[in-house]
Subunit: 264 residues, 2 copies
Amino acid sequence: MRQTVQKPDCAAIACQDCGLYQLCLPMGLNSADTVLLDHYVKRKRTIKRGQMLYRVGEQFSYAYAIRSGSVKTSVSTEDGRQQITGFHIPGELLGLNAIDENRHNCEAVALETTSVCEISVNCFDELARQIPAVHFQMLRIMSKEIRHNQEQMLLLGKKNAEERLATYLLTLSRRFAMRNYSPTQFNLSMSRSDIGSYLGIAEETVCRILARFQEEGVIVSERRLVVLKDVKRLGSIARESRPATARVIPLLRPSHATFLNGAL
Amino acid sequence: MRQTVQKPDCAAIACQDCGLYQLCLPMGLNSADTVLLDHYVKRKRTIKRGQMLYRVGEQFSYAYAIRSGSVKTSVSTEDGRQQITGFHIPGELLGLNAIDENRHNCEAVALETTSVCEISVNCFDELARQIPAVHFQMLRIMSKEIRHNQEQMLLLGKKNAEERLATYLLTLSRRFAMRNYSPTQFNLSMSRSDIGSYLGIAEETVCRILARFQEEGVIVSERRLVVLKDVKRLGSIARESRPATARVIPLLRPSHATFLNGAL
DNA sequence: CGCCCTGTTGAATCTGGTCAAACTAAGTGG
DNA sequence: CCACTTAGTTTGACCAGATTCAACAGGGCG
């Protein structure tokens, strides 16, 4: 069983190339030995489109780092209406928010064939005890998620369909850019229906607005392929809360340095 | 300056009666000495209705524990539309989600005269180093917020105005019940406009639906006073995602016991 | 080749928003 | 103590954006 796992293994899990850089990169850990050891405990798992990573109510035993592919998370009303709360791409860590209730409170489904890395919660314990910085990273990850959720609430509560779509396309664009993919041309792994569910509008509305954007020359959209033609215009439609020029924020700031316990 | 603060002081901050029980109660700390020491570093602050606790972009220097009163947090679009993301009552901890960017990403405004306890972020560092359980509590607090936000996204994305109001009243009722106030009769500290902003509907709609509920005998509402007359009915209107019978979840579970470092 | 899923477009309907106005409660200042 | 102001609340009338229902197109896959 996993309880008898050795300490270095846990560190390894967090620091290999399995998509967990969200947790380990900012820590500046020496990964030489961890890479060496990561065979021991890393548990890769591959799931096909439509398969579930975890479901509501399920015991929280693992967090998941996405290696490749993409995943949607969602919550539902008792009568089956489903709200997608997020799309997740490689490098992101999933499931941490189950920590409070010890069971997952949303479900995660693969949008395409997806490879993930399971991290046992016990491993987090281990990791966190050894490397205080891991704790801080966990806090940051959750903090980031809260910020995203706030933006999404603003979108769902106050924006009209056009603004929602524009915001959505721009956010995607930025995320791709951050990972060195083209920010103006990309393939969507999610269906129109998924987009609608995420944005709180009907899938027909998604189609209509995309068609309108295309008419106006703002984008070109052909099924799952999207090309942004006029990012500026898109931005003015989106009317976002934050300036488009994202400030570069240092990964770690002095006042939190003690969290790192000298790891940096 | 606060950097020279002694270790016990920080523990004291977290464990006095200043509303921080969200952070310390589950830890089972001996509060005798901490109460004794809490004069040193606790910084109480009282703000009047409409005054701001922190604003967007402001440096993240303090988290706030609410002692009395209530606070709303909100985010806004660049053209001024405001989405209220949460109402906060005594015992709750505010502002932690700024940890990632090191600056507040929402604003917090008092709904009435409100007394808070400022906790320096440096103190969290101190606290967390001494008592690993504090880290775990911070994770839990943020996890809980994420869960709330997910529910709210479901509400904003998929529910109609009636369902939103019903959900809102029931959620309030449960929160009051949890603090040993009457779950069926309470005063709202927020305006109709605030409720509307929170639920993503116009304040006129809030009025209309409340009037309808009253006609149907589900509630009695007189300005800020609300009396729930038919909780069952309200529940069936709300169509919530979770069963009304909330499971009792143990504060700490075995697999996370190591976080506590034997504090329990 | 034909089925099925996804996406697209059209038309009718309706929920909830907007605008406007009246009303209430609570101050405020003379 | 009362006239006046102001903020909050309530109700009505009208309208627009988005949903719903329905029909259809087109790719992908067995």
